[in-house]
Every structure is written in C-alpha cells, then in structure tokens.
Amino acid sequence: MDWTGSSPDERRQMLAAIGVDSVEALLAAIPRRVEELPGIPDGLDEASLLRQVSELAQRNHPAGPGKCFIGAGAYEHAAPAVVEALISRGEFSTTYTPYQPEVSQGTLIAGFEFQTLIARLTGLDVANSSMYDGASAAAEAALLAIRYTGRTAVVVSGAMHPEWLCVLRTYLSGVGAEIRIAAPENGRTLLGQIETCLDGNVACLLIQQPNFLGQLEDLRAAAEAAHAAGSLFVAACNPLALGILASPGECGADIAVGDVQPLGIPLSFGGPYAGYMAVREPLVRQMPGRLVGMARDAQGRRGFTLTLQTREQHIRRERATSNICTNQALVALAATIYLCTLGKHGLREVARQNVVRAHRAAERLQGIPGVRLAFDGPYFNEFVLRLPREAGDVCRHVRERSGIWPGLDLGRFWPEMADCLMVCVTETKTREDVEALRAALEDALQ
C-alpha cells in the first residue's frame, strides 16, 4: 500500500521549489545508507493484507463464548456496543494529547469525566486521566509515596498479583527503595504480618482488593495499621468490584490505583489496558500523569485544559514526578463510556451478579468429590479450588475434552500451589456454562 499524499507531478513541483533533483540529494550527510531491507517482506495491497492477517488470526483458537474461566488480572466482561462504536470515531482516535485545548474539548471533557468517575468510584478527591496499566500505576503510587513521605521502604502484600510485584520491583530499582513483603496466610494478608513490616521508614503499604487470589482484604484494618506507622495506604482495586465493594476512600486509603480493563475493555492478549490513580487532595501536586482541569475563557465560557503541568516531564525534565507522557487516553475513554452506559445502578447490578454467579459456581464445583475451596474468606468473582490432582494436567484434560479453559493453574506462579485452580466467574457465564465446567472437571478428575 502507498498512503503518501502527492502525485508524481506535485512531487516534481516540490523538488523544484526546494531546488534539488531528488530527495536523495538531501541525504548526503547520512552515512551507511541502505537501499533494501531483505528481512521485511514486500508490501501488500489491502485485500491481500487482510487475507494474510486473517490467516494468522485463524491459527488462534479462542475458547469461545462462556468457556474461558481464567481471570487473574484480566477479566471477561460484556461491554455495550456503543463503547466500540464511539471510541472508533476518528475525532477521538486520530487526535493527540490535547495541547491546544480550544480544539480538543472532546478529549478534555471525556478526560474530566473519567477523572470524576474514578474519584467517585474510589471515594477519593482527585483522579488523573490514566496511567499505562494497573501494575505500573501501583508502582507509580509507591514512588509518589516515597517522594511525599521522604521514606525509602514499601510494604506490599504477598497476595498482590505476582506480575504487579515484578513491575513494582522494576520501577523501584532505580531509586533503590526497599520492598518488604507481608506474607499472606489462608489467601489473605495477615494484619500481624503487616504490622511486623511497618516502621518509621515505610512510605506506604500497598494492598490489592480483591487480591490476586480473589480474596477480599480487610482494607480498614490495613489503613489503620499504615497510618499508625505514619505511612500512606495504597489500595489497588478492581474498579468493577467497586460497584459493590466499600470504596478505598471510605476504608481510609490515601491513594487508589487499578486497571480499568474489567470495565469492558477487550482482553486483547494483555493490552492495551489502562491504569487509574486517585488520591486525597494533599497529594495532587505529587501525582504522575496528565490532569484535566476546568478553566474559563475571556468570555467566561467553561472549558477544560491540561493543568498542573509543571509536574510533568516536558516542563520539569529530570525533576518531573514521572517520565510518563503518552498514556492510554482512548482506553480511558472506553472505560468512561462503559461506566456512563451502565450507570449508577447498572454498575452495582453487574458487580452484584458477579458476586452471586461466582458464589453459586463455587458451591457447584465444591460438590465434585475431592475438590474444595482453598480459602474460606469472602471473595468477589474469583476463587481458588484445591484439586486432588495437578491443576495443569486437569486444565489440559478439560480443554481437550470440552474446549473449556477451566481457570488458571497457580503452579504457574507458585510450585507449591500446583494443585490449585483459580476460577473466575463473571456475568458472562450462565448456569449452563458452569454446569458444563462442572461436568468437564468431574470427568477430568475421575
């Protein structure tokens, strides 16, 4: 394909205006030029391209509707059709960071609405207009706490998503911060463990809700413990679960972070997703990322603009609060449209359905001989089953026989949990889907 803009004749006219015979004449200063790149195949017309990419897509074998019970940080939820339709508008997708607010009110209004929605969901004062993803948002929250408190250690729950923990280690490696892990027991972070880890050197305590194992943590107790040590409390919350769960703000969190993927964002083999970050007001000027604020023009008309930009890299350079620049505006827009369409009652209902369907499914699956719930604490839409056999083998068997992906084999992260299967049941799973899963698991365990 060729998407260049001018005709051969127009190109000749432009070359003449510049005063050269060819563009190559402008490249003399470039050494070691190449004419060919043999490792890149010849270009394709549109039809051939679509055929080639479709053939690749056909080599995938998605589970199909009602058959994927894997969650573990990326969740299958139903999104209203309007989400994709609206974010596909070129007015949103082919524009950039709103540096010129007069001609970017669409992006800015949507950003302000996103900030407001996240602030209301989290029960905190202010949210930014998105981060790369939940994991990097959690890491940036820890860096924020380190800057704000002047302390150099971070306490994090061992029941946090293991990949998020990896990201935290990477992000904190530059500043040389110490990471202390509060070990979980029975699937939840122990208050005693938290208290042992906390001291006057700890910038923040970071806990995920629901945690990686699906269990609900006691955020209020964690917040109290953190504050008693003079540390900030960071809650990493699934935003869809906040449709029904107590908000981090009401539990005493100073910062809430998370990934908006559960808000109807496609799984897309890991991304693009988007992170969110909300804080109490005193922390605003330490926040990373773009912030949209309200402003007035000379005629008194209300408008929106990027604000508090002196925190950011393009102004503050090495003294910026973060290196983040382009982030995930279009994904945040998708989450905004999702939240608006579901609305106040819709979000609560979908969160409630997740709770009910997951609990009914857990009851049914526990009825299989030899299968029991690994933990006895409360959970949202995901739970861990202990199986009488290795979960990896069971997953393979179930998939081969029924096409169902029954959940995540926790041996992937912890060898000692190789008999643990983590199952996620959202509003996308019907009674029949769960019955099919039960039958397939029973068959595999016979």
């Binding site: 394909m1 060729d2 260049t4 127009e10 563009v23 070691r32 790149l37 890149i40 270009g43 394709l44 549109e46 679509l50 053939e55 299958e76 209203p80 609206l86 070129g90 082919t94 950039y96 969901l121 004062d125 949210a127 998105s130 790369y132 994991a135 990949e163 990477t170 490696s173 906040l242 449709g243 908000s247 897309s268 083999f269 890991g270 991304g271 604020g293 309200m294 402003a295 007035r296 008309r301 929106f304 604000t307 890299q313 503050r316 003294r319 910026a320 382009t326 505006a329 279009l330 608006c340 579901l342 819709g346 609560r348 359905q353 369907r357 409360p378 998939r399 992937r412 509003e427 019907t430």
Partner: protein, 486 residues
C-alpha cells in the same frame, strides 16, 4: 451562551442505558456472601442516562476535537500521519481476542504475528533482538536505561550518569532519573547538532549511556554520528536512539549500522497506530546482540518442535507492566509494516523529508529557520521576528486554528526562541501544504494589519483561550457530586 454539558449534567434519576442478562442462578441477599464491612454504603454517583444520551453526548463532544481525519495536524515530533483503516480492521478480527494467560497452543496465530513484528523491527533498525513489552515510548526509554544499567552491572561496573542533549524530549531526562541516574546535559552547537568535541568534554568512565534523538528535535541529522558512536563506545558507555523521529530514517538507514546499541520505536508515530487522544501507544525496544538477554518482558521464539512461544530473557531487567504487551496496538503496527514493505517504508521517509523541506523552502524567508539548511522530516522555524512585531509563536499557533489547521508544536525544542516545530508527514498532499503555508503567510501579514486579531485568536473555536494560570492556581479536577463546578 450555554456551556457544553458534562454527562453528569445530562443525568436524570431512573434513566437506564444497559440491560444485564437475567440472573439464571439462585439469588441470595448480599449479606450471605459478603461481610457488611466490605459492602459499599451507597452506590457511586455515576450518571443515569439512556443509550442515546451516551451516543449523543460523546458524538457531540467528539466533534469539538481537531483530528487527522478532518484536519492537517503538523505537530512536530508527533508524526501525525494518516492512520489506515485496514489496520483497525485487522486488529478487530475476533480471533485475536484472547486472554493473556490463554494456553500457548491456542495463541499460535498471535504469537506468529508478534514474532513477525519482532523480526521486521530488527531488520528495520539493524538490531539483534526486540521486546514488544513497553507500553509507550517513555516506558521504552526506561527499559533501555535499565538494560544499560544491567549490562554495566554484569561487567562489574556501577556508572552514575546519563548524557542527554539540551534539545532532547523531556522524557529522556525523566526516564534516566527514574532509572537512578544523574543527568548530564550536552549542548547543541550553532549547527544545531552535538559536536564530537562537546560530547568528549562530558564523557567519562562514569557515563553509562548517551541518549540521542536522530534526526534530532531540530529536524537535523546528527552528521557526526559515526564519531559520536566511537566516543561513546571508547568511554565504555552505550549509545541509545530515541526513535521518536524514526519516520525520517525508516528504509534509508538502520540505527544499528550507525552504532546505536539500543533503540525504542514509537508505534503511534512511525508505524501509524492511532494516537487515540494521548495513547495507547507502544514502545518496542531493540538492542544489539550483547544486550539481548537483558531485555524486559518476553521475546517470542519459534522452535520447530513446539511452535511459537514466549521466553523471558535469562538476565531480564524484569517487567514494566502486567502481561505480554499492548497486543492490540502491535497488531496494527504489524499490519502497517506488512502493507508497506521495505520499499513503502523508504518511500514514506523520503516523502516525509520532501514535504518538510518543501514547507521549509516556502516559509524560510518569513519565519527564521533555527539552522538554515535542509532538514529531515520536520523543520524548526522561529517566530522571533514576528515577536518583535507584536505576535508570539503562541499567538500564531492560536490564529492557525481559525484557519482550520492544527498548529505545529510550539516552544519546543527549548533551545529555540519562539519555536515552531512543523512535521507534515508523508501522507499530506502538496495542496494541503500550500494551504497551510498560505495561512501562515496571511497570519504574518495580519500581525501588521490587525495585530489584535492575531493576539486575541482563536475566534472560531468552541472555547477561546483558557485562563490556565487560574486553573492551575485553584484546580477543579472533578465535578462535585452535589453542587456547582466552582
């Protein structure tokens, strides 16, 4: 004049926009499943609107945006080229919708595509290996800095400094700082380039990395690059290419052949994945062979027995975000590269250079070039003469909005007085470029004829210039639940 309403201002109690599937399992009171302390006291105050309310609201506000689909958008250093719709169609093929932990044997098509993208990027950049993991260019920079740190540490060295030109993007020093490095600035010379002698002065055995944008943010090729590479390597440091301006080099020269050890690619620039109003992008990072085992995330490998699979490099610096990467963006980048092929990529770069030089040749007598010589894919002009006559770069930018053009980047690079940084890209026609030049020349005349019109611009946009100082002094960042905005 009424303000454009927010979705919260449209909301009416009891309106619904979405219907859930009926609950086909036995219901139970929430208290039986969740302890009271875990349940939210009140539902969050989300809007209550119908589906049509949503469609109309977001369609209406979308129309308040300038975008590539409607408008020439020569935002320097951002490569606002046309985003082909076919790549969108590719990315939305239903079989690409996979859970990140989907079994490897069910994801072979996606992995083959990602492997192909990796290989094409290696060829394009002359690199040995690529990771597709970073979420954006700045995260790619961070990745590259961590790779450099790990490589030095593996050789038993701890170096403390990263050298960065004064013309660099702000992300470079911010990323270096995040990686724990002290930033040393090297100044551009009167030719707008890094002179080997200036670099020699700041290079010592404590420098881990020199980060260079090439062509630099003045749109000029760093013609001392081979000597620069030698100086950097002689000091035991690594050479990093900020690939923001790769749209000038693709198919013409490979960064690896110039001596770069690490490069990041902004897919939303050179590879035309949509900018999305500020993301999502992706920032793949390529490295020379001696750095391959330090890459973050995963590399896709093809082994004859098991097919395609993900592998974490042995001495990986770790993970920068959860999961493999922004696959949806990467599919678009793959499709774009396959559509163009090497020849198309080269043609793009040549045309981007042609267009920038054409603009430059038509504007250079009116707007002073920072360095008066041919440019690469973008040209940096100065409005310093216009400033003397009463209108600043910002005024000119705002007045361009009235003419129906998105302005160039202004006041960047920081080393140029009243900078106008213009990047037309290859997808624009001569007709559009001429209309843009005509508008700038007309504005230049207006500075003398009707200066207030220029200084008071824009006049035709949904809102006028906003009072950003007051907005930052008393920030209103969310809409209060019950009450007015101020």
């Amino acid at each position: 004049m009424t303000d454009i309403p927010l979705i919260f201002e449209i909301s009416q109690p009891g309106r619904r926009g979405w219907q859930l599937p009926a609950l086909d399992v036995e219901d139970a009171p929430l208290e039986e499943m969740l302890p009271a302390g875990q349940v939210r006291a009140e539902p969050a105050e989300l809007p209550e609107v119908t589906e049509l309310d949503v469609v109309r609201h977001f369609t209406r506000i979308s129309a308040l945006n300038m975008c590539i689909d409607t408008t020439f958008y020569p935002l320097g250093s951002c490569t606002m080229k046309y985003n082909p719709r076919v790549t969108e169609k590719c990315a939305r093929l239903p079989a690409f919708e996979l859970h990140p932990y989907a079994p490897t044997e069910c994801t072979q098509g996606t992995l083959e595509l990602l492997h192909g993208l990796q290989q094409m990027l290696c060829e394009l950049c002359g690199m040995h290996a690529f990771t597709l993991h970073p979420a954006a260019g700045a995260q790619g920079e961070f990745a590259g800095i961590l790779v450099a740190r790990a490589w030095h540490e593996a050789r038993g060295e701890r170096r403390s400094k990263v050298v960065i030109p004064d013309s660099a993007h702000g992300t470079n020093p911010a990323s270096a700082r995040l990686g724990g490095y002290q930033v040393v600035t090297v100044r551009s010379d009167e030719r707008g380039r890094i002179s080997p002698s200036a670099l020699r002065e700041v290079m010592d055995s404590d420098v881990a990395l020199f980060m260079l944008t090439n062509p630099n943010t003045l749109g000029l090729f760093e013609d001392g690059i081979l000597e620069i590479a030698e100086i950097v390597h002689d000091a035991g440091a690594l050479l990093y290419l900020d690939g923001a301006n790769l749209n000038a080099l693709a198919g013409i020269v490979r960064p690896g052949d110039l001596g770069f050890d690490i490069v990041h690619v902004n897919t939303h620039k050179t590879l035309s994945t949509p900018h999305g109003g500020g993301g999502p992008g992706a920032g793949p990072v390529g490295v020379a062979e001696h750095l391959a085992e330090f890459l973050p995330g995963w590399v896709v490998e093809n082994d004859a027995q098991n097919g395609f699979r993900l592998r974490q490099p042995e001495r990986s610096v770790g993970q920068l975000r959860a999961f493999f990467g922004s696959t949806g963006v990467l599919i678009r980048a793959y499709a774009y590269l396959r559509a163009l092929g090497a020849r198309g990529l080269r043609e793009n770069s040549l045309t981007a250079i042609l267009n920038a030089n054409y603009l430059r040749s038509r504007l250079r007598e009116t707007f002073a070039p920072h360095v008066d010589e041919p440019c690469m894919h973008e040209c940096v002009l100065s409005a310093k003469n216009q400033k003397k006559r009463g209108a600043r770069a910002l005024d000119i930018a705002k007045r361009l909005l009235d003419y129906g053009f998105h302005p160039p980047t202004v006041y960047f690079p920081l080393i140029v007085d009243e900078a106008l940084m213009i990047e037309p890209t290859e997808t624009e026609s001569k007709t559009t470029l001429d209309a843009f030049v005509d508008a700038l020349l007309a504005i230049d005349r207006e500075i003398d004829e009707c200066p207030d019109v220029v200084r008071g611009a824009p006049h035709s946009t949904p809102v006028g210039r906003l009072d950003e100082v007051s907005a930052a002094r008393r920030p209103v960042l969310t809409m209060p639940v019950n009450g007015a905005m101020e």
